[in-house]
Symmetry: C2
Subunit: 341 residues, 2 copies
DNA sequence: GCCAAAAAAGTAAACGTTTACATTTTGTCC
DNA sequence: GGACAAAATGTAAACGTTTACTTTTTTGGC
């Protein structure tokens, strides 16, 4: 069956295809009488403009690509919600690519851009190697990349970015644990090599050093960013010869795992062990016990990132390449208490 | 700066554009010597094929649209992972549209298809009104819709679908609660009008009726599919003059909320109250207490749905319009026990 | 009713690819 | 080395829009 194109409509309405196109895109420029005739023809034929042809002609797709570790991570879900709220309003759709916490090949991202599949790319996950290919190409085309993750942006001065001060926030979280009396504080990080919790680990270490506290070998455990990984990491920590009295987790998902592992080991949180999270995902408040955590404004980050992306697309290049720092906030609930005496 | 097109490459390599195109798409059909010359020209110019032009010419986008309530719902995250695993391998990308648990306007879905923005649509959320427009148009174009949710497919005989037997599964879950000795079993459903838990509610009611048990007014509470909604619903249930001894939740997210509400009310689960979930999301096993739930094979559903979508795209029409039923499975953990005496 | 200006509509090219068909080159066999 | 088939390459059209430019029609003032 043949596609009904603008030509079909034009013939039925007895006008030229240009007029039909104008009826759709700038109705003010055509006479009322013709307009209704064309409208009728459109209805009658069931015509819908062919998006591909339109994109082709216009040179853009109205598609924004988002690269993130996983849509299932509640933190990224929040960021995504923010992104969606702004791009939706402007008629853009989202192509979502998940790295599953691996490092995405930069060439894939570059290809996406250079290949014009998307009008821009929002990077919430680390890609590798950063540098030459992507930068050069994206630059040459003036196609926008906006970043929503500090550790990436650090490596990439010159790209617009939106994020919290991860180092500072982690330092504050650690300091809060110290203020409760803890001196034996462990940290659960992502797998080695991942950049996702790198700054948080740095903040943790800085706070420990500032307080003159040691971080023995083994106190920084790899939790894989997952529930299961964190359960294993917590078990290892509880078996450590110098068992910590508090565990600071690189994200809330892992904190949920730590809570479970502690419970499974017969420990009461926070009486026997304190657990601190990071992100403030929606499950944090209803965890048992409710999780004390460092909140990131996920949705706000998403909104800002998307706004800047759209501005850049509009302008044809990134107008503002600065890093924008959004506020973090300590949320005190019940998973942190004084250390056992 | 002008876009590097196939023409640029052709000129540099001293061949026609057709040859360049062939080098890319059917390299066997060009002589070794020419091929390397063209390859060099491609490298030298940094040429990448323009995806839009290619899609335009080929008539498809290699994009599949997925319409779902929310990517943040762990059940749908699982389905999505399954979908992605199969479409990735075939070079398709995913456009994801979230309805946020509202009913999506069918016209939007129809437009997406008819407009050729995507090669097919996978429907995991209800859209409304189902019928005329979408059906007719999708049918006319032979553009594929595949459904991964029974309550939609029920309304839509004739579209391929993959799902569990929701009614049966809910009946079994309810029967399991009855087998533990419960007679006062409540149900937390989605908001009124939502189709998402409709069949599960039907299964619950059927099991109650089969056992000759009453379902007093107010025992089917609206939980909104969210943590907060379920917390409110649970509170209402606990205040009910005929307080139930077990609560069966339409999905695990709500069961997590119920667990929290019970704890907040000073109740011990399962000693004072039993809670049964549905889906077996990844947080179910680490909840406190670990959640007894009816598992759906989320990832499998995703894989099957995607496979059928791709087959349909390939064939140009849905080859197999049957509903495919995948198995459910009761997962017994610790949130259900005998009723308090 | 005529004229100029403004508004409306039409014509045709262009976007970058792929591909049917035509042409040229290569290889093989005698 | 000539004839012929097969392989390689080239030519040009087509996909459905949008839009710069041109032509036609309408409007309004006299």
């Amino acid at each position: 069956m043949k596609q009904v194109s603008i030509k079909t409509v034009a013939e039925l309405a007895g006008v030229s295809i240009a007029t039909v196109s104008r009826c759709i895109n700038e109705p003010d420029r055509v006479r009322e009488k013709t307009r209704v005739r064309v409208q009728e023809a459109i209805l009658q034929t069931g015509y819908e403009p062919n998006t591909i042809a339109r994109s082709f002609r216009r040179g853009h797709t109205n598609l924004v690509m988002v690269v993130l570790p996983s849509v299932g991570d509640p933190f990224f879900t929040g960021v995504l919600r923010g992104i969606r709220s702004v791009v939706d309003a402007e008629g853009y759709s989202l192509i979502i690519s998940e790295t599953q916490f691996n490092t995405m090949n930069a060439d894939e991202v570059g290809a996406m851009l250079v290949t014009r599949q998307a009008d821009g790319v929002i990077l919430l996950a680390s890609i590798f190697p950063f540098g030459s290919a992507v930068l050069e190409r994206a630059g040459r085309r003036a196609q926008p990349i906006v970043i929503g993750c500090e550790t990436i942006s650090a490596a990439l001065a010159g790209f617009p970015s939106v994020h919290i001060d991860n180092v500072g926030a982690a330092r504050e979280a650690t300091a809060y644990l110290q203020a409760q009396g803890h001196t034996r504080i462990a940290f659960i990080t992502a797998q080695a090599g991942s950049m996702l919790t790198r700054d948080r680990e740095a903040g943790y270490r800085a706070a420990m050093e500032a307080a003159g506290l040691a971080v023995p070998e083994g106190w920084v455990a790899e939790g894989d960013l997952s529930l299961d990984g964190a359960i294993r990491a917590t078990q290892a920590l509880l078996d450590h010869p110098e068992r910590p009295t508090a565990i600071f987790c690189g994200n809330d998902e892992m904190a949920l795992g730590a809570l479970h592992a502690a419970r499974a080991a017969g420990l009461d949180v926070p009486r026997d062990l304190s657990v601190m999270g990071f992100d403030d995902i929606r499950y944090a408040a209803t965890a048992s016990p409710p999780l004390t955590t460092m909140a990131q404004p996920a949705e706000l980050i998403g909104e800002r990132v998307a706004r800047r992306m759209l501005d850049a697309i509009e302008a044809g290049h990134a107008t503002n390449r600065e890093a924008e720092i959004v506020p973090h906030r300590l949320v005190v609930r019940d998973s942190v208490g004084p250390p056992p005496s």
